[in-house]
């Protein structure tokens, strides 16, 4: 093997310094192979005699190339094949030109680069060169009757073919260096992301530690005072015990938040989803929040009393937690004015929409997107006005999403109040009636006893395509075109796997009904594994997926779908989900 030169990664093709690099490479390779002026002269002399063989050589060679699986991507018609044939003859002619200079080397490297671009593996180039070598050696035997002279020419030919091979393979080496460099850059980016994550966690730990110590200080301090006999009366003792109790409750709230987020992160939080009446829930929660509001002189406006509210599907305990959190926040961040609670159906198909609005401090626009992220508070400085775990909204978001809803926040800006709205699926989506009439009878394609697949895509053409493809492979297929339909179908059809398009119709200004939300809802509500399908960059879907706590994360397939890949992925997902007996 040739000594591998120290390759300067910055001197990639197309950049300054490339021709210097190539000059050195050519000189070193020639001297290593032992290719000199005598060889050049010998090859130039035999060239004309071999000329008649070149068309047949080109034919042989490109037939070899066509065997490669990637060839169809490049050589699709007779025109391109004819051009390839001429290129190969031209190449063979240059092999015997006797001029092996920089232009020659650049030409060879360009050929190698094209192979790399098309995706032809290096081993194919090497074996194709062997085919050429054997053919030409034979042609020389036929063209040169003098055995000694033929042997000398053949030695020269071997040298020039070695040089060619080295030049072409160098392109592969350069490409792999580039790939490594890209990979390295991606690794560095991932590393940066990890250290940012670790920094956020450290900050969270420091913050949580601070928030835990403050109520602990009151609890321990007051009990110590009482135990040390420093109280002057029974009444004072009782008063301090009241303070202890309040601080302990505050502490419990923080501990619960931290545990909740940890459980959600680990995918261990289980919901018990059932039919829930919202009215009693609203009343309970408002009673709790009114106490806090009265103490601050803030009005609580209950606007949920109008039309009767249909029942929802959710976890009553967790819905209460979300409401307490949102209303509690509204009171906490409002110094004067009111906090209002509203609920309506019809704004989002198949869902109840709940709104909590206040006249409080509001949220600057640039911070509105981060408040639902865990460990993030708008203000983490020491002058921050409002204590708390900094996890409340992050927990609300996860809980709402796990129940198949969405949550969003609006604030015109600091001092102008905040509006938070979230959705929760209705038990029987009333305003979805025309849709449900169609869906009432689930229409199943394919053999009914086949493995059940639910296809969710808003593109009717693609839906039809998948339905045919899967039914043809023996699956029982039901399709749905949107969020509510999909949940309904999952509930009644009990599929083994769902194929979900990332982008689903958005029915309101809320970023609601995203396919990833659906995947999350499928997993939490029906333990239904999904495969996410997207026509967009899969990296974006992946990044969004990473922010949700899904274990295992669903595979992502890119459109257009490859039937074999789809089949294989479905088998894997179903197998992984089936409990081992």
């Amino acid at each position: 093997m040739m000594r591998r030169r120290n390759y300067d990664a910055d001197r990639a093709p197309g950049q300054a310094g490339m021709s210097d690099f190539l000059k050195d490479f050519l000189r070193e390779t020639k001297s290593y192979i032992g290719l000199d002026a005598n060889d050049a002269a010998r090859l130039a002399a035999v060239g004309p005699a071999l000329e008649p063989h070149f068309p047949a050589l080109a034919e042989l060679f490109y037939r070899k190339i066509l065997e490669h699986p990637n060839a169809a991507r490049v050589f699709s018609g007779p025109e391109q094949l004819a051009r390839l044939n001429l290129t190969l003859q031209h190449w063979a002619r240059r092999l015997f030109s006797g001029r092996y200079d920089l232009a020659y080397a650049e030409d060879r490297m360009a050929i190698g680069r094209r192979h790399v671009d098309v995706g032809v593996p290096q081993r194919y180039v090497i074996s194709a060169m062997d085919v050429v070598r054997i053919y030409l050696l034979e042609a020389i035997d036929n063209a040169e009757p003098d055995l000694q002279r033929a042997a000398a020419i053949k030695r020269s030919l071997n040298k020039i073919l070695d040089l060619d091979l080295n030049l072409m393979c160098e392109s592969y080496f350069i490409a792999s260096v580039r790939e490594l460099r890209d990979l390295n850059a991606r690794l560095e980016a991932a590393n940066l992301e990890l250290s940012e994550l670790s920094r956020v966690k450290d900050e969270f730990l420091a913050h949580t530690s601070h928030e835990l110590r403050t109520p602990l200080n009151a609890i321990l301090g007051f009990t110590r005072l009482i135990l040390d006999g420093l109280c002057q009366s029974r009444e004072e003792e009782r008063e301090l015990l009241g303070d202890v109790f309040e601080s302990a409750q505050h502490l419990l709230g923080i501990v619960n938040d931290v545990l909740d987020i940890a459980r959600i992160e680990a995918g261990k939080l289980k919901l018990s989803v059932e039919r829930v009446e919202m009215r009693p829930l609203f009343e309970q929660v408002l009673a709790v929040v009114r106490v806090q509001a009265d103490a601050k002189g803030i009005r609580i406006v209950d606007e949920t009393g109008g039309a009767p509210l249909p029942p929802v599907r959710g976890d009553a305990h967790r819905l209460r937690q979300v409401l307490i959190n949102l209303l509690g926040n509204a009171v906490k961040f409002t110094d004067e004015g009111w906090v209002s609670l509203r609920a309506s159906t019809g704004a989002v198909a198949g869902h109840l929409q709940v709104e909590v609005q206040d006249t409080g401090i509001g949220i600057p626009r640039d911070k509105q997107s981060i408040v639902f992220e865990k460990f993030k508070q708008v203000d983490t400085s020491f002058t921050r006005r409002h204590g708390g775990s900094g996890l409340g909204l992050a927990i609300c978001r996860r809980l709402v999403e796990m129940m198949g809803g969405a949550i969003a926040l609006e604030s015109p800006g600091p001092g102008l109040g905040t509006l938070v709205r979230f959705t929760v699926p209705l038990e029987a989506p009333v305003e979805d009636r025309p849709h449900r009439a169609v869906q009432d009878q689930l229409s199943i394609a394919g053999p009914p006893q086949g493995t059940r697949v639910l296809v969710v895509d808003n593109d009717p053409g693609f839906r039809k395509f998948l339905q045919r493809l899967l039914a043809g492979e023996g699956f029982a297929v039901v399709t749905a075109d949107g969020y509510a339909d999909a949940l309904d179908a999952a509930d009644r059809f009990h599929p083994a796997v769902a194929l979900v398009d990332w982008v689903l119709p958005v029915s309101t200004s809320l970023a609601y009904g995203n396919g990833i939300d659906l995947v999350v809802a499928f997993q939490s509500r029906f333990s239904l594994p999904s495969i996410l399908v997207t026509g967009h960059e899969p990296e974006r879907a992946q990044a969004e997926m990473a922010r949700r706590s899904l274990s295992p994360p669903p595979p992502i397939l890119r459109k257009p779908l490859d039937a074999a890949v789809l089949r294989e992925t479905m088998q894997k997902v179903i197998a992984a989900h089936t409990p081992q007996s």
């Binding site: 730990l205 420091a206 530690s209 601070h210 928030e211 835990l212 110590r213 403050t214 602990l216 200080n217 009151a218 609890i219 321990l220 301090g221 007051f222 009990t223 110590r224 005072l225 040390d228 420093l230 301090l240 303070d243 309040e246 601080s247 400085s381 020491f382 002058t383 921050r384 006005r385 409002h386 204590g387």
Partner: protein, 133 residues
């Protein structure tokens, strides 16, 4: 009777400090709820020790938020108030916080919350008073 100025944003913690220092140490206690109030009280010469929290919700100085570290620097940077000992009390208790905070605040001493033993609190304040005189 030496006077301790308590600067603390949690009402229950401030209440504990007051009771502990009055009953166990026999000090007189005062509280302040703005940076201007703190500066005025210390300048008046009626305060012997400042017990100062680092996180100060709602505290402003000249209309902008201020924390305990900066407030301490203001006190230590004023020749009228720089002799009054400052005891930092904070629930920020990660490794390295003590050194970081003492340096950033120019305060005299640092206590880490939870501070719940009245005896220790009184002892710290007494030690600072001795240093002053």
């Amino acid at each position: 009777m030496p006077t301790v100025l308590i600067v603390e944003d949690s009402p229950s913690v401030a209440k504990f400090y007051t009771l502990a220092l009055e009953r166990r140490g026999g000090f007189a206690c005062r509280q302040a709820h703005s940076a201007e109030e703190v500066l005025a009280q210390v300048r008046s010469g009626e305060v012997d020790v400042v017990l100062l929290d680092i996180s100060l919700a709602d505290f402003t100085y000249q209309g902008r938020p201020i924390d305990g570290l900066e407030l301490s620097r203001l006190l230590k940077g004023d020749p009228v108030t720089d002799k009054v000992p400052v005891l930092l009390a904070t629930a920020h208790a990660m490794v390295g916080d003590r050194e970081r905070f003492l340096e950033a605040s120019a305060a005299d001493e640092y206590l880490q919350k939870p501070i719940y033993d009245p005896a220790i609190l009184v002892e710290k304040v007494n030690a600072l008073l001795e240093k002053k005189y």
